[in-house]
């Protein structure tokens, strides 16, 4: 593992030749371990109720936004719309409200999602291992949870109240999900929230710890860049495209078999180029508002973040084929997760 100084040196090295060298290596490793395939997934926002106050997030408790939570009928409608695009890997998201979207609500959503999708992951409030195990048995394959930043002081500054303010509970979430039997755990940092090198090193250490203790889990990482939400800036440091690409390449080199996700937060041009450099999973045709795929009147809603790449799933499939990638829509066959 690199030390902080080495990591800083890499991130601060502005030589184009150096970056190219990293990119070439990352490209080779990605092709070797993942081949010319790209897994596609899409998010569905079930609810934007949130009981945490995070300064950078559109769903934050004190933001005066229209709060919505899909009822079963609306879930069917949204899921049907997304499934019609061919997406089979679904990421169900909520704000972090233990009250508005309790375990029972999530189970209901999963039962419906199973009718439309072959692989279900959740990005919801962190839970205990037993609750994750129940969700696993109900058919959830993966948990996505980002630490956002590993800098405790900065974490405290931006997570003002609610359960999310508990740094340690959040840190232990990937481990609790793994203990519960989840197949996939996706981890990440919000780039721009704190010093990138320090956060990256901590993420790598966290990931290494997880790999050593829970080797059976498939891991992936995400590097969402903190962006504007309806015109508001939240980042304390700018992570430009060069640095962003460097983070992706470096992660691939250090973790050759770990998945790297890239969302539609990033623009089309960057996504088109990043897909050969280490990214293995891309979201497509995404909408980040509750009910955004099929329900009306979402214009006045605050999305969790603004989408930069508006291309549809079929556009992405076409693009991947043109770039000599095989788009993978089906990457799992649901088998019962119940112990027999």
């Amino acid at each position: 593992m690199l030390n902080l100084q080495q990591l800083q040196n890499i991130l601060n090295n502005d030589s184009p030749e150096f970056l190219e060298e990293l990119a070439q290596k990352a490209h080779r490793l990605t092709q070797q371990y993942f081949g010319r395939t790209m897994v596609l997934y899409a998010p569905i926002y079930l609810s934007n109720y949130c009981s945490s106050h995070c300064t950078y997030c559109g769903f934050s408790l004190h933001n005066r936004i229209k709060r919505l939570r899909l009822n079963p009928e609306q879930m069917h409608q949204e899921m049907k719309t997304v499934a019609a695009t061919g997406i089979e890997n679904i990421l169900l998201l909520t704000g972090e409200s233990y009250k508005a979207t309790p375990l029972s609500y999530l189970k209901e959503a999963i039962a419906i999602a199973k009718q439309y999708f072959t692989s279900i992951a959740l990005e919801v409030h962190p839970m205990d291992s037993q609750e994750y195990h129940e969700l696993f048995q109900h058919g959830v394959d993966g948990i996505t949870v980002y630490q956002e930043t590993y800098n405790r002081d900065r974490y405290k500054e931006v997570h003002l109240s609610g359960k999310k303010a508990d740094y340690d509970y959040r840190y232990g979430t990937p481990e609790r999900a793994a203990q519960a039997g989840m197949r996939h755990v996706s981890m990440g940092i919000l780039l721009g929230l704190a010093d990138v090198a320090t956060d990256l090193l901590s993420l790598y250490q966290h990931l290494r710890y997880m790999e050593q203790h829970y080797p059976g889990v498939e891991y992936s990482v995400s590097f969402p860049r903190l962006r504007t939400i309806k015109g508001h800036e939240f980042a304390i440091c700018d992570v430009d495209d060069k640095k962003f690409i460097k983070v992706i390449c470096l992660t691939r080199i250090l973790f050759p078999r770990v998945g790297i996700n890239l969302s539609t937060r990033e623009n089309a041009k960057l996504r088109d180029h990043a897909l050969g450099l280490g990214v293995t999973r891309m979201s497509a045709g995404s909408n980040t508002s509750v009910g955004g795929y099929s329900l009306e009147n979402t214009d006045d809603q605050e999305p969790q973040f603004d989408i930069e790449d508006h291309r549809s799933v079929s556009d992405m499939i076409q693009l991947l084929k043109e770039k000599n990638f095989d788009p993978v829509l089906t990457d799992w066959r649901p088998i019962s997760n119940q112990a027999s």
């Binding site: 371990y33 010319r36 197949r183 088998i335």
Partner: protein, 269 residues
């Protein structure tokens, strides 16, 4: 009366590879992952003439959103569905059941992997899954780490072959586990030994066959080549060449040069 030509053919003729009572004349098996498109896969299958291809059930688009991989595999090719994604015997068994229910037949390559970093197979769980599935009538071809005890247990459990890894999957490193695979070739006589994983070039495939492996499976090296169909054909040729090399009883390699002046000749003078 035999002509000179038929005698010549007989002398260079291989016997078929028999797995579970089914005969195959081609000893090269192809994996179907990682290809940039399904046409490349179809071309590769045709070019190498493989008679067995392995497909991960998790990647079969049963919902038919996109091109279903099965449509690119000719009907006369035996489909070997693999249990990629299974982390224990129970999950492998469930995937095998689902494969059979989905119309993918009963030839199952068991892959039980509980380590996402090295993707090494778990022999213990593989043995358990083999026992369950072979009792249920599946033709079970287990992927394994080359270990003699595990191989014996697999045979006892009803495996139709054993498929030891040459080196880490996708690594193109060749037969790093050579000495251990040699032991399996020497000791496991009841079922064929198919070297799977890590074979990165035709020459490495030939090497495995010269050692006495019964067949070789490759995937990454074909899928990632600039011309997949061409290398697929090269693999099939190398496998055949290696096989004939093995059958020809290659003169053994010697560590030292043969002494031109015998040291014990005087005893017979």
């Amino acid at each position: 009366m035999q002509t000179t030509e038929t005698k010549h053919i007989e002398k260079t003729q291989d016997t078929p590879l028999v797995i579970g009572g089914k005969s195959f004349t081609n000893r090269f098996l192809l994996g179907t992952g990682k290809f940039k498109n399904k046409q490349d896969l179809a071309d590769s299958i045709e070019a190498c003439g493989t008679q067995i291809v392995t497909v991960a059930l998790r990647r079969i688009d049963l919902e038919h959103h996109e091109e279903n991989i099965l449509e690119y595999i000719p009907k006369n090719v035996t489909l070997l569905t693999n249990t990629s994604g299974a982390r224990n015997a129970q999950e492998a068994v469930r995937i095998a059941h689902l494969a059979r229910e989905s119309g993918c037949g009963n030839w199952i390559k068991i892959e039980v992997i509980n380590d996402s970093k090295y993707l090494l197979p778990d022999n213990n769980e593989t043995i358990k899954a083999t026992e369950i599935l072979s009792k249920e009538g599946f033709m079970v071809l287990p992927y394994m780490s080359p270990d003699l005890y595990a191989a014996r247990e697999l045979v006892k459990a009803g495996a139709a072959t054993v498929m030891p890894l040459g080196s880490l999957i996708g690594s193109n490193q060749g037969i790093k586990a050579k000495e251990f695979i040699k032991i399996l070739i020497e000791e496991i006589r009841d079922v064929p030994i198919i070297v799977d994983a890590g074979i990165g070039s035709p020459s490495q495939a030939a090497e495995a066959m010269e050692m006495g492996a019964d067949a070789v499976l490759a995937n990454t090296a074909v899928a990632m080549a600039g011309h997949p169909a061409m290398i697929a054909k090269a693999f099939a040729m190398a496998v055949e060449a290696g096989r004939l090399g093995y059958l020809s009883k290659l003169p053994a390699k010697k560590d030292i040069a043969s002494a031109s002046s015998p040291l014990t000749g005087f005893l017979y003078e």
